[in-house]
Symmetry: C2
Subunit: 151 residues, 2 copies
C-alpha cells in the first residue's frame, strides 16, 4: 500500500477528515522517514500545494500529534523534528552530520519503582554523539571529545 492510501486510512481510523493537506503531510512523513522539520515538510510540499501555509503545517502536525499519528523526535535541536513511525524506538542525533538515526529499544518495559502508577503517555529515548560514518571520516578530530562514560 502506498503512503497516500496509508495516510487516508490512518486519518479515517482517527475520525479526522482526510483533507488534501492532511493526506499530503502525513504521507510525506510516512514516505520520508528522515525526521523532517516543519520547514522541510513545508518546502517539500509547496510545489504540489502552492497555497500551502506554514501555519497549516504547524496546525496539522499538532492535530496528528494529539492523535498519536506522529511523534516528536526528542532531539534537542532548535527546530522540532517529526516522525510518523509511532512504534517505540530510540533516536540517535549525530552532532557532526546532524543526521538522526533510529534504533530499537528493548522490548522489556522499563519498570522504575519511582514512577509506578504513573500514566505514561509519551516515551522518548534519544542519544547524541558521533555516528560511525563521521567517526571514521574525522579520525583526527575525534579526541576533541572524550568518549561518554556512563554514570
Amino acid at each position: 500500500m502506498n503512503a497516500v492510501d496509508t495516510a487516508v486510512k490512518l486519518l479515517q481510523a482517527k475520525k479526522i477528515r482526510p483533507s488534501l493537506t492532511r493526506i499530503h503531510i502525513l504521507a510525506y512523513l510516512l514516505s520520508h522517514p528522515i525526521h523532517p522539520t516543519v520547514d522541510q515538510i513545508y518546502q517539500a510540499l509547496l510545489p504540489q500545494i502552492p497555497t500551502l501555509s506554514k501555519t497549516t503545517v504547524y496546525n496539522t502536525l499538532d492535530l496528528l500529534l494529539e492523535n498519536k499519528l506522529v511523534k516528536l523526535v526528542g532531539v534537542e535541536q532548535r527546530e522540532k523534528h517529526y516522525d510518523a513511525n509511532t512504534k517505540d524506538h530510540g533516536h540517535f542525533f549525530c552532532r557532526i552530520c546532524e543526521k538522526i538515526y533510529d534504533f530499537s529499544t528493548p522490548a522489556a518495559e522499563i519498570e522504575a519503582p519511582e514512577i509506578k502508577g504513573f500514566q505514561i503517555e509519551v516515551k522518548n529515548v534519544s542519544y547524541s554523539g558521533v555516528c560511525s560514518d563521521c567517526r571514521h571520516k574525522n579520525k583526527h578530530k575525534e579526541d576533541e571529545y572524550e568518549k561518554f562514560e556512563g554514570n
Copy 2:
C-alpha cells in the same frame, strides 16, 4: 559536604576557575534538584548576587554543560531545564502539575545493533503523562486521554 564545597571541588576538578557566580549557580543546582530553568536559577540567585545578569546564567550553564557538570533535562518544554545529577537516570514530566520526577533506568546498557560503533556522548530518557498524585486528584478528568499503549 555542603553544596558550595561540592561545587568548588567539581569546578576545580574540571579546571574551571571557581568564581562566585559559578559556585552559586552550580551549588544551587546541586542543592535544589528540581530541574530548574534559567529564569528560576536567575530569580533564586538575584537576592544574593544583585548584579547577576541572565546572560551570565546562560553562559555559565553552557560552560557547565560542556564540562558535563550539568545535564539538560530532555523534556519538551518551552524553557530548558537543567540537572546537576549527571548520573544516568530518566525524567518523567507530568503535564498536569508540570513537576519533573527522576527515575532509575536499567543498569544494562541498551545495545542496539543500529548504533553499534557510534560514539554516544549524551543520553536522554524522558517520559511524560500524568503522575500518580494528579491521577488521584483528577479522577474525573482522567478519561480525556486514554492510557498510552506501548507500540
